[in-house]
Symmetry: C2
Subunit: 209 residues, 2 copies
């Protein structure tokens, strides 16, 4: 899909099917953190209801290898990764768009599950988002893509929760199998975290049936 | 708690209350990924049931600021962070122990929600775990603790899903407000990812009522 903000490079969440169930699971994760341990919310019953949902899903789950083969079939964008995946409740999800200048960009607001210091995004969550965005930038960039070799993060200031963040990344150069990529997370126009990485053009073989 | 594996530095999950509900939410996240989108699992009904749980919890949730104040009250270990928190369904959770030699260590096996390359841990998830473990190592180490300034990760080989990983970290030196810390993630005795960081001795003020 191409829009005014660029070509979408991540899987667009659907409003039904597993994506809707995953969106509801994200609500549960967040609501559990907002409610906390001292409430009269009847957590034993909540645990029971959630375990019933998991039991029900498990009845319909294929074996692990079969599922991995299915996940990695086709050549499209992944739907299950922990950053952009509409099928992964760990993912905010971050949606990334490819711009004409060769960079990728996305906006995301992170809530309570992503907290590190009080009211701030966990430094490791910023690393997670940037590592993934750099990888997507390599797919969008002119050179090859690959796997992270070295990733360096610089924390310039705290990254706020509950405010819109802008994630940007771009491939900066390539030399043989080495790919140089950089990115930032900004809030209110100021860079909070910057990243530089060297990727190596190699891949893990996809599981086959 | 002090055990044969050292002093536990992270919050021990309870078998009831919110911890049990969060453990069940983790099962839901994993089962949704294992079941996927093409099943006869009735995802519309699953979404309905999960949204009902979230709606129920939201009725019992205090306001955001009130909740943040409560989360950060006391001086104990956090229960809500996305790496070790028993109250955060994003967290595997990783439990870390302080050893007599000044290092910290923990074992964890990661499943489908943490996948990057096929069958492997996402590089950004390794960064998340290591950033947090380094922070805990600073609390256990002889010098001051603080916030991440620079974090460098080196990916030596892929990190497997579904196998026990060992996470290790230690404070290596301090100079004024700068704290040097390093760590590794290993599988089967081989280092998969190593991290070096410079932390800065500063803190975000805790929210007060």
């Amino acid at each position: 899909m191409s829009t005014a903000t660029g070509s979408e490079l991540t899987a667009a969440p659907s409003n039904d099917g597993v994506d809707a169930a995953v969106a509801a699971a994200r609500r549960v994760i967040t609501s559990l953190l907002h409610t906390g341990g001292d409430s009269a919310a009847g957590m034993a019953d909540v645990a029971l209801r959630l375990n019933e949902v998991a039991d029900h899903l498990d009845l319909h789950a294929p074996g692990r290898h079969e599922r991995l083969v299915d996940m990695w079939a086709g050549e499209g964008v992944t739907r299950h990764d922990p950053v952009t995946g509409p099928e992964n409740a760990l993912a905010p999800p971050l949606r990334l768009y490819g711009l004409e200048d060769g960079s990728v960009s996305g906006r995301v607001t992170l809530g309570m599950p992503y907290q590190g210091p009080p009211g701030c995004v966990h430094g490791g969550i910023s690393a997670l988002l940037l590592d993934h965005a750099l990888g997507v930038a390599n797919h969008w960039g002119p050179g090859p893509s690959g796997m992270t070799g070295t990733l360096t993060l610089r924390y310039h200031r705290t990254t706020p929760l509950f405010e819109e963040l802008v994630v940007r990344a771009r491939q900066t150069s390539t030399e043989g199998r080495k790919i140089h990529t950089s990115g930032t997370i900004s809030a209110g126009g100021r860079v909070c975290v910057s990243a530089e990485a060297v990727f190596v053009a190699k891949f893990v073989e996809r599981p086959r049936s």
